[in-house]
């Protein structure tokens, strides 16, 4: 049976979406991230209520748990890529879909389709919660600022997920990928902040969602930050695809 190329691509995408949606870990990761995020936002909110003196900002408080939140999305990305390699599923996948480049690309696309709504719901719930709790005390925020910050945060989380998936596809094992990415995002990068220029994926990504009036030195605009993270993600995905095409499964 001959199927046109476009139809084939759509079928691959649907297969990848199916696989991701039926992976139990996907839902566990998203749910746990959501619960932890709410807990942390509650902690940040009451901490900023206790500090009292300074006027708390809704956006800063609502997005304060972003640095923790990204861990959940890193896990999501790694799992999407590495679950193929547990139990030899990769051989089934490649037997059914022998177009490797297209398959991996569609996997990233399917992951994007899942991540964007998840990230949007998570970040929006944090900001909503902070807005509700801080209501009377906080400085006013313009609606367009909120929308911009939410879009930035969603974009940042989505790109981080894709980047992790690319690293996972390169390393093919869950734990080493996890150690390297968490080690970078949580240990090396916070330590070297100030030493290195802001061109690394997480430091540039911060400018995507942090409101511009946060009093820090603003080196990048949100769009520049987004561009830099996008370049990192695209190149890692491209490298992953090149290796995937040439490497023995």
């Amino acid at each position: 049976m001959s199927v046109s190329s476009g139809r084939k691509t759509i079928r691959v995408l649907r297969a990848e979406l199916d696989k991701l949606m039926t992976l139990p870990w996907t839902w566990t990761a998203v749910t746990v991230t959501f619960l932890v995020h709410l807990l942390l936002t509650a902690a940040f909110t009451s901490a900023s209520l206790q500090e009292g003196a300074a006027v708390p900002e809704i956006l800063n408080t609502g997005l304060a748990s972003m640095s923790y939140l990204q861990a959940g999305f890193i896990i999501l990305g790694i799992l999407a890529a590495c679950s193929e390699y547990t139990g030899g599923q990769i051989r089934t996948t490649l037997t059914v879909i022998p177009w490797r480049g297209r398959q991996l690309f569609m996997k990233h696309l399917a992951l994007t389709l899942i991540t964007i709504p998840a990230a949007l719901i998570l970040t929006a719930s944090g900001v909503l919660y902070a807005g509700w709790r801080l209501g009377g005390h906080a400085a006013g925020v313009e609606p367009h600022e909120i929308i911009q910050a939410l879009l930035g945060a969603t974009g940042y989380l989505t790109l981080t997920t894709l980047l992790s998936a690319a690293v996972g596809a390169l390393l093919r094992r869950t734990l080493p990928a996890l150690v390297i990415l968490l080690g970078y995002y949580f240990i090396i990068s916070p330590w070297s902040r100030g030493l290195l220029p802001a061109y690394f994926p997480d430091t540039a990504g911060r400018y995507m969602y942090l409101p511009p009036s946060s009093g820090e030195l603003n080196i990048l605009t949100p769009v520049q930050g987004a561009g830099i993270v996008m370049i990192w993600t695209m190149s890692l995905v491209a490298i992953a695809i090149v290796f995937y095409r040439t490497r023995d499964a």
Binding site: A43, I75, G87, G88, V179, G183, I187, P190
Partner: protein, 261 residues
């Protein structure tokens, strides 16, 4: 004893362990060197408030190595092989050879502790010349009591990772929780802003064993992350209590649980 040697040999033959050993041995010295370089001018001018922490801060972060060690020691046993390899797990072989579950548990726990202690000593040996080289005579004195505290902190953390992984049977959750918690954005530091109870969390209490000296206590107004709350001995006891409870639970669960489940 044979079970202990077997555990050591199993651990050292894991590929991931070399990453853990590398991080555990080198990262503290690198962090201590970076921190000394960053603070050198303040220290020479005599205005640094963080002098008592300079060498030790690396030990607080090199902990990553033993976290990986503790997690891998268990998660490698429970990794399911591919369906083409009959979907087996190493743990069933281990239990066939060492039929007493308690003995296997103890052998593994002791192996993890011994490697962590050796790793911490190695890290300390590397830190001393590094700080000396950069700071010269200004280098902080490394006191034996505090170093012993650091060794305890590493061993307890490795055991916490070991116990947590035994409960979850896979490495991802304990690795994520412990790695984030030992980073700059630790949950306990955040919680300490909300409730004083957070000072009784294992990592926060454990850090008291070596991170904060009495004369290094910052006034409360600075709001430093590193304000001292317990004495070193109390901190150590609190962390030990956590380790004991967690290992006890893990031992009971491991004793009663079906391996294949």
């Amino acid at each position: 004893m044979k079970a202990f040697y077997a555990e050591i040999s199993k651990l050292l033959s894991l590929p991931g362990i070399w990453l853990a050993l590398l991080i555990g041995a080198l990262a503290p010295a690198v962090v201590a060197a970076l921190d000394s370089l960053a603070q050198k001018e303040d220290i020479l001018a005599g205005v640094s408030t963080r002098l008592p922490e300079v060498g030790y801060i690396g030990l607080g972060f090199g902990i990553q190595g033993v976290i990986i060690l503790g997690v891998l020691a268990v998660s490698s046993e429970f990794r399911t092989e591919s369906s083409e390899g009959a979907g087996g797990q190493q743990i069933s072989t281990s239990l066939m050879v060492v039929s007493s579950r308690l003995q296997l548990f103890l052998a593994k726990a002791v192996a993890v502790s011994v490697i962590s202690i050796l790793l911490c000593i190695l890290a300390v040996i590397l830190i001393v010349p590094t700080t000396r080289y950069i700071l010269g005579d200004y280098a902080p004195l490394l006191e034996w009591t505090r170093l012993a505290g650091a060794v305890c902190y590493w061993t307890f953390t490795a055991l916490l990772a070991f116990g947590l992984t035994l409960l979850t049977k896979q490495g991802m959750i304990p690795l994520t929780v412990l790695m984030i918690n030992s980073s700059l954005v630790s949950f306990s530091v955040l919680l300490a802003k909300v409730t004083k109870l957070a000072f009784y969390l294992p990592d926060r209490a454990g850090l008291e064993m070596f991170m904060f000296t009495k004369d290094g206590v910052a006034p409360a107004a600075t709001g430093s992350v590193f304000d001292s709350y317990h004495t070193p001995v109390t901190g150590g006891l609190i962390m030990f209590a956590w380790v004991a409870v967690l290992l006890g639970t893990a031992a009971i669960v491991f004793h009663r649980r079906d391996v294949a489940a």
